[in-house]
Symmetry: C2
Subunit: 255 residues, 2 copies
């Protein structure tokens, strides 16, 4: 089978031979942006139902109706145990964080309000749209859950002690991120990066008291917040995650 | 000493008590954007001369004159041995590549034209400006050298066999990036990522013949080109680079 070129994250329940109606941005994207016609094939997926082949049956003004194939092409996968805790930042860099964290396998995105956080609101609808689009691009079947912002001290107060919380520490007080290789491989873990201005001394003190929290240095350069987040995703997911696995569709269909 | 808030990459020769004239964008930035006045302090730096304290002496219409301190604050450092070879891509993602590669320590940025490269020209002046700005932000004293684009097969034909060339391989044929930990630590190395459409089969064959080239898998998701580049920078520089070092100015001045 040739792999269809387009993948769409779907809210609908996906089941054998189901008739699925796509509305709004999905319908617009298929009919007006891609200009697909009746009979064109695409892939639909979501976290609960996996990935399915879909064929366009009808195109109406604000609706595209597709029919699914008889079998699920890729079953739902166990999400990677990575939660990304980040201080909201402005504009394009927030989009970079959401897109890259999705590509690198994060399951949960948790905005965190710290003392120096400037942006204290997150457009969750926009954030979800970015995550879904990144999932469509990177062959994920699921996309991260994006939570309501929480204050840092509340997050730390409720922190489960059996979940490592790896935070970026540019103060020079912590060992290099490479020391993470010495920790036992956790099933669930989180990374945490402060805002552009960094954590306050009080926040560092609070972090040091959290059981399971590990500060790590990221080298002699001061990384931007978005770069530090991507770096901690790579540094943890590459050793604790599913990076020994290979892209499935490529491996099965194209090589 | 309190660390001055602003850092500028400088083309001028920096030496004890020198009087340095800043023009064009640097002058505009200091006088019109930051609205600094006579007596304000900043840091000037470049690869050859290191980092110096500078005090504004005169502000003219298109020129700002500063006087340097009597001693170099930070001596030039040995550049990290990381060359980033990347296929030029469109718009904002190219800026992301240049900015992040600079933050993560790359010494050389080498645009590479592959069979599926769509963008075959690189605005080197703009690229240099982005790299300089990233260096200013991340406390680097130098910034990467940005080379003229080269064709992939030419690059591979001339490749020095003692320099590992780590390339992203989404075909599923290569081991995980974590296997790099088993290689001897090189003084110089390069990473290489193809365009959004990936390498052709012919290019993979050519890569496999290069002594010193290692394909690595980056997990089950298909990363965007910019994400793959950042990932390979982190995966190699964190184990082969200077990431055991700490931010120097913070460690000396602020903690």
């Amino acid at each position: 089978m040739t792999k269809p070129r387009y993948r769409l994250a779907a809210d609908a329940i996906l089941s054998p031979n189901a008739r699925v109606s796509l509305h709004e941005s999905a319908a617009h994207y298929l009919s007006s942006v891609l200009r697909l016609t009746v009979g064109a094939e695409l892939l639909l997926f979501n976290r609960a139902d996996g990935e399915w082949l879909a064929s366009i049956e009808e195109i109406r003004k604000k609706e595209v109706v597709v029919t699914l194939g008889g079998t699920c092409l890729r079953a739902p996968t166990k999400p990677l145990g990575l939660t990304v805790c980040f201080s909201p930042i402005k504009g394009g860099r927030m989009e970079t964080i959401i897109e890259k964290a999705t590509e690198l396998g994060a399951s949960v995105l948790q905005p965190v309000i710290t003392a120096r956080t400037i942006v204290d609101k997150v457009n969750l609808v926009r954030a979800e749209a970015i995550a879904r689009e990144a999932a469509e691009q990177c062959e994920r079947i699921d996309w991260p859950e994006i939570r309501e912002p929480v204050k840092l001290l509340k997050l730390l107060g409720d922190w489960p002690s059996d979940v490592p919380l790896i935070y970026g520490d540019e103060s020079g007080a912590s060992d290099s991120v490479t020391r993470l290789a010495a920790l036992a491989v956790p099933q669930q873990w989180a990374i945490l990066v402060g805002p552009e201005g960094g954590f306050t001394q009080g926040e560092f003190t609070a972090l040091a008291k959290v059981k399971g929290a590990y500060g790590v240095g990221l080298g002699p350069r001061i990384l931007r917040a978005d770069t530090a987040i991507i770096t901690l995703c790579v540094a943890t997911a590459s050793v604790w995650g599913d990076w020994h696995e290979r892209p499935r569709f490529v491996a099965e269909g194209e090589t």
